[in-house]
Symmetry: C2
Subunit: 336 residues, 2 copies
DNA sequence: GACGCTTTTGACAGCGATTTCGAGCTGATG
DNA sequence: CATCAGCTCGAAATCGCTGTCAAAAGCGTC
C-alpha cells in the first residue's frame, strides 16, 4: 500500500492508460471526463497509494495552499486558542497554517514576514503585531492580510477587532456595581493598542460613575504573570487603599493574585479581582477568576475565515465577536 | 524596495549579467565563483529585493525545508512550550515547522500524517501520538521520524523519552520524606504510556518505603483540569484519609486544587499537593505548585535537533533530559 | 455517409529553482 | 609554442503538476 518512493501523477496516468492532463483534471475537477476513465484513474490512484505533491502543485499554480500566521509567542496561553481556531477554519479547504513567532520584536517580526513571503504563503494573519501600519499596508499590496487588534482598512486587508474599550468598561462597571469605589488597574504595555483601549474603558467607567480616577492606582505591566505580581507589590507599597483590581489580562491577574496571597490579602473578601481574556485556566484558579471572555478560539476562526474569503476574492464579512463579563468567584460585594 | 510581483532568480541573473546557474551557486555556496561576479550578484539581489522561492527550491531539490509536527492539542499549555522549542531549533538551518493537531484521535492523526506526506515534509515529529508502533515504523521507512513518549528503535527513527517512572518516584518520595504516608494519586488515562510510567513510579516509591498501596487512593483522570476536580471529589466521597496528593500532571493538579478549595481544605496545611510538568503557570497558582519539572521547551528543542541530524544523515545523539522535583509551596511537612 | 458542433483528450509549455555536463579560460609544464 | 590540469561558468534537463490549445472523438442531422 505504501510505496517506497513517492508516486507521481505521471505514474498514475501511465497505469490508468491516460495522459497526465486527464489525471490532473480528475484530481481538480477542472473539466468533464468520461466516466470510464475517471474510474480507471481512481483505481490507479488507490492501487498506487498516490498523494498529489502539494509542493509541485503550488509551484505550478502559483499558490502554496498555506497561510502564514505571525503570533507574538507561540507558547502564550491566549494565542494558542487562537491558533487552534485558525487551524480549524483553514483545514476545510485544504489550507495549512504556518506558525511563526515574532517575540514582541519588530525586527524579528519583519524577518518572519520575509520567511513567509519566501515560502510564498497565500496570505498572512498577524495577531497583534508590532509592525507599523504603513509597512503593513505595503505588504497588503502583495498578499492578503488579516490583522487583529488594529484599526486599519484597505484593499486586500481586513482587520478584526474586538471592542476592548467597551469590554473594559463593562468589567470596571461590574466592580462599581458591586459597590467598589477604589479600583486599581494593572494596564498592559503602553505601546499596545489593546492595552490602551482597556485602560480607556476603565477610565470611562469611573468617570461615568462620577468616581475620581486616581492615577496612582494605575500600574503598567507587560501582560505576563510576573509583571502582575510586581505591579501589585508596587501598588501595595503606595499604601493607597483599594478594594478591587482590574487587570488588563488574565495572566497579570494571576500574578496579582499570587502577590495578594503572599500578603495574606484574601480574594474576593478583601480585594475583588477581575481579569481579561478568560483563558481556559481561569476556570481553575482559586478562586475561579471573574474575567472578560473574549473567545480566543473564535477570534482565530473568524480570522481564518476572513483569510479564505480574501484569498478567493469574495467579499469579506467579519461577524461581530461577542465580548462579555463572566462572573465567577473572584469578585464580590464590597464589604462594610 | 518591495517589488510588486515576486522577483525570480532569472531576473537577478539577467541584472547581474550572469547565468541563472551562477546565481544559484552563489546562493547555495555549491561551487567556487569569481569574486567579481559574486559581488555583482549580491548587489543585484539587494537591489531587486530578491527572496528565493522556497517552493520552487523544494521541488527542485526534493526537499521542502519543513518538518511536520503532530501534536495532540495545539492549544495545550504543555505542548505549546514544546512547539516553541521545536520552532527555535529548526529556525537556524532554515527549516519551518508545520503544526497539525491530532486531537487524541487515531484516525485524525493518520489524516494529519497524510497531509504532511502530501506536503512533502522532510520529516515528522510526533508528540506522544496514538498511532500504533507498527504503523509508525512503516512511516519511518519513508521519512525521518522523531517521536516522544514511546520506546521505539529503528532506522530513520529516534524516540525521545523521559524517565517518567523515576520522576514519579522522586515526586512521591518527596511526599514520603515530608512524613506523608497516606498519599493519593490522580493518574492519567490508562492507555497513555507516560501515565502508566508515572503510576508505576508512584507505586514503587510507596513500596520501597514499605507503605501499603491503597488502590482506592488511585483515581484516573484524563490529563485535563476538569478531570482533576472530578477525581478529587471522588476521592473525598470515599471518606478515606489522605494527607498528600500526587497528580500525574499539573493541569489535573489545578483541578484538584480547586476542588480542595471548594471544600475548604487548605493546601498545603491540610493536604500537600504535587504535580508533574511544571507548566509556566504553576509558578503562579496559589500556592505556587510543587511539581516535577520536565522542560517541555527542552523536549521540543531536543526533538528538533534530533530531526535535523536525522535529515542530514548524521548520527543522532539525544542528550539526557533532566527531570527533577521543583519544591515550591504546595507541599509541606505532615502535621501532627 | 458527410457535415457541423460539442465534448474529451493529449501534447506541450511553463512555474522557479537545482544540478549535471562539458565548453572556455587560465596558468604551468615540457 | 603545444599540451594538459584545474577553475569558472553557461546550456539544458529536471522536479511534479497545471493549464492552454488544438486535435480527436462522439453525436445529431440531412
Amino acid at each position: 500500500m505504501d510505496g517506497r518512493s513517492p508516486v507521481t501523477l505521471e505514474e498514475v496516468a501511465r497505469r490508468a492508460g491516460v495522459s497526465p492532463s486527464t489525471v490532473s483534471r480528475i484530481l481538480n475537477g477542472t473539466a468533464r471526463v468520461r466516466e470510464s476513465k475517471r474510474q480507471a484513474v481512481e483505481r490507479a490512484i488507490a492501487d498506487l497509494g498516490y498523494h498529489p505533491n502539494v509542493i509541485a502543485r503550488g509551484l505550478a499554480r502559483g499558490r502554496s495552499m498555506s497561510v502564514g500566521v505571525i503570533t507574538q509567542d507561540i507558547a502564550s496561553p491566549f494565542y494558542n486558542e487562537t491558533l487552534k481556531g485558525i487551524e480549524d477554519s483553514l483545514a476545510g479547504p485544504g489550507y495549512a497554517p504556518l506558525f511563526v513567532s515574532g517575540h514582541w520584536n519588530e525586527a524579528k517580526e519583519a524577518e518572519c514576514m520575509a520567511l513567509l513571503v519566501a515560502r510564498r504563503v497565500d496570505g498572512v494573519i498577524v495577531l497583534t503585531g508590532m509592525i507599523d501600519d504603513a509597512t503593513l499596508l505595503g505588504y497588503a499590496l502583495r498578499l492578503p492580510l488579516v490583522i487583529t487588534g488594529r484599526n486599519l482598512r484597505g484593499p486586500n486587508l481586513v482587520s478584526i477587532q474586538l471592542d476592548n474599550e467597551q469590554a473594559a468598561f463593562d468589567a470596571t462597571w461590574h466592580l462599581i456595581e458591586l459597590g467598589h469605589t477604589r479600583i486599581a488597574h494593572i494596564a498592559g504595555p503602553e505601546s499596545n493598542v489593546d492595552a490602551q483601549e482597556r485602560l480607556a474603558g476603565y477610565r470611562r467607567a469611573l468617570t461615568e460613575a462620577r468616581l475620581p480616577v486616581d492615577e496612582r492606582l494605575i500600574v503598567i505591566g507587560d501582560f505576563h504573570e510576573a509583571s502582575g505580581l510586581l505591579a501589585l507589590n508596587q501598588l501595595l507599597e503606595t499604601r493607597l487603599h483599594f478594594t478591587a483590581l482590574f487587570a488588563a489580562n488574565d495572566q497579570m491577574a494571576y500574578g496579582a493574585r499570587l502577590a495578594l496571597y503572599r500578603k495574606g490579602i484574601r480574594v474576593p473578601e478583601d480585594v475583588s479581582l477581575i481579569g481579561f481574556d478568560d483563558l481556559p485556566s481561569s476556570l481553575y484558579t482559586t478562586p475561579p477568576l471573574t474575567t472578560v471572555r473574549q473567545s480566543a478560539y473564535d477570534l482565530g476562526k473568524v480570522a481564518g475565515e476572513a483569510m479564505l474569503q480574501l484569498i478567493s476574492g469574495q467579499a469579506v464579512s467579519v461577524p461581530a465577536l461577542p465580548l462579555r463579563v463572566i462572573v465567577r468567584e473572584s469578585t464580590m460585594l464590597r464589604r462594610g
